[in-house]
């Protein structure tokens, strides 16, 4: 009886192990600024092959410099926070530039993450970020990209929730988990 039980368990395990459906291996390229660079991608996406191409302090010029570099890849982009102050008075043009630069990466699947709010709303920076996010969302979705909105998840009424940050700009592991879960819901 005992032998039968053990063999039955082993058989169930083997059946599950070998009958699993075959899904294609997924490779993800993350591109953007320090918010990408500080992301522990292996921990957050343990089943995927991930590439962290985040460059601290980078902005639109970095994305533009990568034109054509991600042909047929799945790319996740998070950029804009370093440029938003400089383009504060011309967000319409900046959003055009950013969506064009991302389109020029020539990736097969593009996921754009909304720019995170800041802890301190100096010079109404968060209003500018919110407006820029709206513009990027409108333009990117009409260009067939997937927009991942995490702004409201990370903010209270106006600013970045203090439990998600140490320095007011970069988010901690808890914040990254929220962003990760949002992305996993839309990954294909």
């Amino acid at each position: 009886m005992e032998t039968m039980k053990i063999k039955l368990y082993v058989l169930i395990f083997m059946t599950l192990f070998v009958s699993c459906s075959k899904e294609e291996d997924k490779e993800l390229y993350f591109i953007g600024d320090s918010l990408i660079e500080k992301w522990d991608l292996q921990r957050c996406f343990p089943s995927y092959i991930t590439h962290n191409n985040g460059v601290p302090g980078s902005g639109i010029k970095y994305i533009q410099s990568k034109a054509g570099a991600y042909k047929n890849c799945s790319v996740i982009v998070l950029t804009g926070t370093n440029d938003v102050s400089a383009f504060k008075n011309d967000l319409e043009t900046y959003s055009d530039k950013i969506v064009t630069a991302i389109y020029e990466l020539r990736a097969s699947h593009v996921y754009i993450i909304s720019i995170f709010p800041r802890l301190k709303n100096e010079n109404n920076i968060n209003e500018s970020i919110k407006l820029l996010n709206e513009l990027i969302k409108k333009k990117s979705t009409s260009a067939g990209m997937i927009y991942v909105d995490v702004y409201d998840d990370l903010s209270n009424d106006c600013c970045l929730k203090s439990e998600f940050t140490m320095d007011g700009v970069h988010i901690n592991m808890q914040g990254y988990e929220i962003v990760t879960n949002k992305i996993k819901k839309v990954l294909r």
Binding site: V18, P46, S47
Partner: protein, 199 residues
């Protein structure tokens, strides 16, 4: 075809006799992310199953089977554990072996080196290793220090792992910090434990 290979490898388990249950059963968790249980027979042979605890859907969880052999030669210990693993949705598979050699340098210090030839269906073949030492500080309290490129998740990274190992009866607990030594300086905190159920 790959599924057939898995079946062939796992087939001998069908002939497991209930007598082997008389060995030492253990369970535990490795690096927060992998729960395991296993059986050691006559202090030599070892079979264990490890399952991931990623914050992912079940289809993206990984299951790994180890079949091992260990030998104690005085102060020198050798353990060889081939393994095969797969994500439940079949997205990728890997296989390889952990070849662990440890040596009791003094009563209070153990040096160890692990070789890990590893093949991942997405990354290809890597030859990883871990080298380190653990020193007894007080009774059952040890400090551990390792340099490793054995994957903590899927791809190989060069990291320093610093931790403490506490043994209380049949339970051992090892909290540690894993610090990347190149590229992005990402620090991970892990905790592992192991409990020997039957002695």
């Amino acid at each position: 075809m790959k599924n057939l290979h898995c079946l062939i490898i796992l087939l001998p388990l069908l002939f497991v006799s209930p007598q082997v249950i008389k060995g030492q059963i253990y369970f535990g968790m490795r690096d927060n992310n992998y729960a395991y249980c296993g059986l050691t027979i006559k202090n030599k042979f070892n079979v264990s199953i490890e399952h991931s605890l990623y914050s992912e859907k079940m289809s993206y969880q990984k299951i790994r089977l180890y079949v091992g052999y260990q030998q104690n030669l005085g102060d020198f210990n050798l353990k060889v554990s081939p393994y095969i693993s797969s994500v439940w949705n079949g997205m990728y598979k890997d296989y390889g072996s952990m070849i662990d050699c440890s040596y009791n340098i003094f009563d209070f210090a153990v040096g160890d080196i692990t070789f890990n030839p590893h093949h991942d269906s997405g990354f290809g073949t890597d030859f990883n290793y871990m080298v380190g030492i653990k020193c007894k500080v007080y009774k059952d309290l040890w400090i551990t220090s390792h340099y490793s490129c054995i994957p903590e998740f899927r791809s190989s990274e060069k990291r320093v792992r610093l931790g403490i190992l506490i043994s209380v009866g049949q339970l051992s607990i090892e909290p540690c910090l894993s610090i990347a030594t190149e590229g992005k300086t990402i620090v991970r905190s892990f905790c592992s434990f192991k409990y020997n159920f039957i002695k």
